[in-house]
Symmetry: C2
Subunit: 328 residues, 2 copies
């Protein structure tokens, strides 16, 4: 296979996971450039990487530039993606800045890989909480349609980057936390705010689940409403997903479809018919369990969906997109 | 005020909280008997109590017997409530054993105090997760009706009694846990199972939210569906409650109604428009915030509801019932 020159931009929690996943999947790397705001040496799983300062010149001869994205502020992709594209690179951006642009495909490879071919240089990786939900729902959507989604999330602190993990672990040790990643203590607490407040008092994270799902499924007619909540878990987002399908579908059929779907690990053990965050850490699949019918509402159905937010929710999905790009 | 002879049966997390709340509220206690399976001396807030072994004879001359209830197994009320009633006591039971019996009122004093007068000796205290939800929803139900409720909970480990707290705190200290209260580790994890699995793969806790809400509101027509989840919080259950009202009601009207309702603390601060478990600890109110409309579904509305599961969710509600009993 032809070797591909790769740049990874950002070496926070997601950037580091990107380096790990590239390595694990034996991605056919020619040259690898690791770029960030400051030069340094980092180690990931005992492999040493030289981090160079990112500049417009960094993307010369790069085939694919993976931008790790940042929480809260605008990602490096805003500054550097245009010059990377002008130098011939395909940009795959984990940040939120380009996701809703009409000429930027927003891709989950198990769901809408065909959208990749329409890219104009930039392909966006969806938000972590969206990715795992659409992986679980797309097979049901294909089989029975989706009228509505009501979702409540249980999101890990690593979704806020290393600062989020630092805050939780410091609080659990009763240590002073210098820079707070959250608006309140997160140890032994839950916080129903992820991102800032936006239209209709939804948070930015809640809007992402609505708008990104619409874009990925190419269907704005699905009624989606979300409450996104931070919980004191380090890695692994969970979601209690309530749906109403358009057509009737039995629980057994849903379980059967999910069990056979790419990228899904369906959990139905005798001792436990659901996944927990501890199951998914370091894994690439979306874990699904507790599929059950609403006894009172026609076509109403619950699912419990768990995934590693740094892997399938970010790094793995981006690198799967890269794999699609080079194989197309 | 006439003094009342009280028995508190059970000195676990809820029984202890009952003693604390009786004391705090200056309940007009004549004689107080503290009863449990074994005799011992306990201290609650520097007050010493002599615990006697519970027997059928313990209820002689007792006016009100408060049963703290137990998790998982049948409560002491199953064994002792009939003899307590036959000796003239009114039993207020926090356990689940009598709640759905047709001749046992299930009471939240802010919602259905009038049901108390129908008691035949036993009055049941609803489940913690139900109490806080109906306190928040009853004023909306009265104003605009309720067509449906879809709720996902974030429930504290103290809901499983002292064993639940012990498991979380031991795991956080990396200590060996001898008796596990939960089916998996709870530190840095979430577990979507509370109680055993029952009809339609709902857990017993999820059915409680359906059936108890129907009974308290005297309305089986409300379509209720729940996912109940344990989270690594010590005290304070949270709930993401999605409702559809029958009639249209504005967000402002809902906020106004909730702000003026008994037993509710409506949170709408500039820095944070929602409560968190840390806010409610040791408090008797139900805390509500994040009231917002579903932009896509007519009459769809979210609320975020938090309460101290040992106080309003158990001890306080039981003692409020006792206060109603003695004032009627």
């Amino acid at each position: 296979m032809k070797k591909v020159n790769i740049a990874v931009v950002g070496v926070g929690a997601v950037g580091e996971e990107m380096l790990r996943v590239l390595n694990e999947r034996n991605f056919p790397i020619g040259n690898l450039r690791v770029l960030a705001r400051s030069a340094r040496e980092i180690k990931v799983d005992n492999k040493t990487y030289q981090v160079e300062v990112v500049s417009e010149e960094s993307f010369k001869e790069i085939d694919i530039a993976l931008f790790a994205g940042t929480e809260g502020e605008k990602g490096a992709a805003v500054t550097f993606a245009p010059s990377a594209v002008s130098k011939g690179a395909v940009v795959i951006d984990n940040g939120a800045d380009f996701r809703m642009k009409s000429d930027v495909p927003l891709v989950v490879p198990e769901v809408n890989p065909e959208d990749i071919k329409n890219h104009k240089g930039i392909i966006s990786n969806p938000n972590c909480s969206t990715i795992q939900m659409v992986v679980a729902l797309a097979p049901i959507y294909k089989a029975a349609g989706l009228k509505r989604i009501v979702v409540a999330s249980y999101q890990a602190v690593s979704g806020a980057g290393r600062g989020g993990v630092r805050q939780l672990e410091s609080e659990l040790k009763n240590e002073q936390v210098k820079e707070k990643a959250f608006v309140a203590n997160i140890a032994r607490n839950v916080i129903p705010q992820i991102g800032g407040f936006a239209q209709d008092d939804y948070t930015s994270e809640e809007w992402k689940m609505v708008k990104e799902t619409h874009k990925i499924l190419h269907d704005d007619s699905i009624l989606i409403s979300a409450t996104c909540v931070r919980v004191p878990v380090v890695t692994g987002h969970s979601e209690a997903v309530y749906i109403e399908t358009k057509e009737n579908i039995t629980c057994e059929k849903v379980k059967d479809i999910l069990s056979k779907s790419d990228g899904i690990k369906f959990i139905d053990m005798p001792e436990r018919n659901f996944p927990i965050p501890a199951d998914c850490q370091g894994k690439d699949e979306v874990f699904v369990g507790r599929v059950r019918k609403d006894p009172f509402v026609k076509n109403g159905l619950w699912l419990w969906v768990v995934a590693d937010n740094l892997r399938k929710g970010a790094a793995t999905n981006a690198i799967q997109i890269a794999e699609c790009v080079i194989s197309s």
